[in-house]
Symmetry: C2
Subunit: 171 residues, 2 copies
DNA sequence: TCTAAAGCCGAGCATATCCATGGGAATGGT
DNA sequence: ACCATTCCCATGGATATGCTCGGCTTTAGA
C-alpha cells in the first residue's frame, strides 16, 4: 500500500520516430525527483534510498549512481549503516534545479561550442562569424534562466500549496 | 582553397565526462547549417549537397539522411539528375530554426511528459500533481520561444550585415 | 546513347545510455 | 557478538542513437 507503482517510467515506450529534441536524460530527471524527496523531508534525519526509489518508482541501484556525484558535489550528505540514508547538505532555497542538472549531466548547453565561453573557437574554428552559435547561445541562456530561478524550496512550497495529500508520490 | 576543412566537427572528441545537458544532436545542428546554406542561395536554382557538405565540412551521405525528412516535410524541394540539388520550398522568412529542429529531432521537449499536452498523464500517471513537470514545461516554452522567433532570413541578414566575405564558411 | 552528376535507399558499425548484479564496508539494535 | 540495514564501488549487458558505407535511380549534356 505504501508503494504506488514500481518502475512506472521505465516501462514507457518511446514514440515511433526519434524522440524529442533538447532532451534531458534520466540522470537529470531522476536526480531532481530524488532531491525533491529529500527537500520535502528536510530536517527529519536521513532518508534511505529505498524509500525514495519505492515512492518514485525508480531503481534503487540506479539512484545510488546518481546520488554519488551529488554527494561529491556537496549537495547531499550521507549517513551510513542501519537507519542511515541521505539528506540535503544545504538549505532547499539555495539548491536550484539547474545546480542538480549540472552535477548530473554537465554544463547546460545545446552544443559543445556554447558549453564554455573560453574554448569555443577550438570546437569548430569558426566561432567568430558563426551565425548558428548565437542561436545556440540564446537557447542556452533561456534554459539557464529558467532552471536557475527555480529552487527546491519553490517546488516544496508549490507541492504543499497544492494541498494534495499525495504530493510525495508525485513529481 | 575553396574548401575550408573536411569533417571539421566530426573529429571533435567529447569531454571525459558526460557531455552536456539538454543537448541538440547533430541532426538538428547540421540541418540548420544546411538550411542556412540553401537560404543564402535562395533563388539561384538547385544547390547540390556536395557543395554544402564541402563548405560546412560535413559528410555528404549523412546530410542526405537529414535532407530527406526536410523534403517530406515540405521545407525543401529536390531536383534529380545532373545539375540537380536542393532548394528552399518556402521563403526564408517563413522558415524558423524551430521548424527545422522539430522536423529533424521531433517535438522540442526536455521530457516525454511535456512533448504533447494531451497524453501527459499516460506517460507517468502523475501529471496532475507533478511538480517537476511544470519545470520542464517552462524549459520547453523558453526554448520554443527562442527557436521559433529566429528565421533563416534573420540569419542571412546577420551574415550579410557582418560584412564578412567568408560568411558562407561559417555557421 | 553514353557518361557523369546528382538524388535516393537500406544495411551495418560504433558508441552512449540506462539499468542490473554482486559484492564490500560501516553502523545501530538486540 | 551478532545481524539486518544501509551506503559504497566496479563491472557488464541490452537497447537506442549517431553516423558511415555501398549500391541503385534519375537526369542533363556531349
Amino acid at each position: 500500500m505504501g508503494c504506488v507503482t514500481m518502475y512506472a517510467e521505465t516501462l514507457v515506450a518511446h514514440s515511433e520516430f526519434g524522440g524529442e529534441a533538447l532532451r534531458l536524460s534520466t540522470r537529470g530527471r531522476y536526480g531532481v525527483k530524488a532531491m525533491f524527496e529529500l527537500a520535502m523531508n528536510h530536517g527529519r534525519g536521513p532518508i534511505p534510498l529505498k524509500e525514495i526509489a519505492d515512492r518514485q518508482g525508480l531503481s534503487e541501484h540506479y539512484l545510488e549512481q546518481l546520488v554519488a556525484p551529488l554527494r561529491k558535489a556537496g549537495l547531499v550528505k550521507s549517513v551510513r549503516g542501519a537507519h542511515g540514508g541521505y539528506m540535503l547538505n544545504k538549505d532547499p532555497a539555495s539548491i536550484s534545479v539547474g545546480d542538480i542538472i549540472r552535477v548530473l549531466e554537465g554544463p547546460i548547453a545545446p552544443t559543445d561550442c556554447v558549453a564554455d565561453e573560453h574554448d569555443a573557437v577550438e570546437h569548430c574554428g569558426r566561432a567568430a562569424g558563426c551565425m548558428a552559435r548565437s542561436v545556440w547561445a540564446k537557447v542556452r541562456d533561456s534554459i539557464t534562466e529558467v532552471v536557475d530561478s527555480i529552487t527546491l524550496a519553490d517546488l516544496c512550497e508549490e507541492a504543499r500549496k497544492s494541498g494534495d495529500k499525495n504530493y510525495m508520490y508525485y513529481i
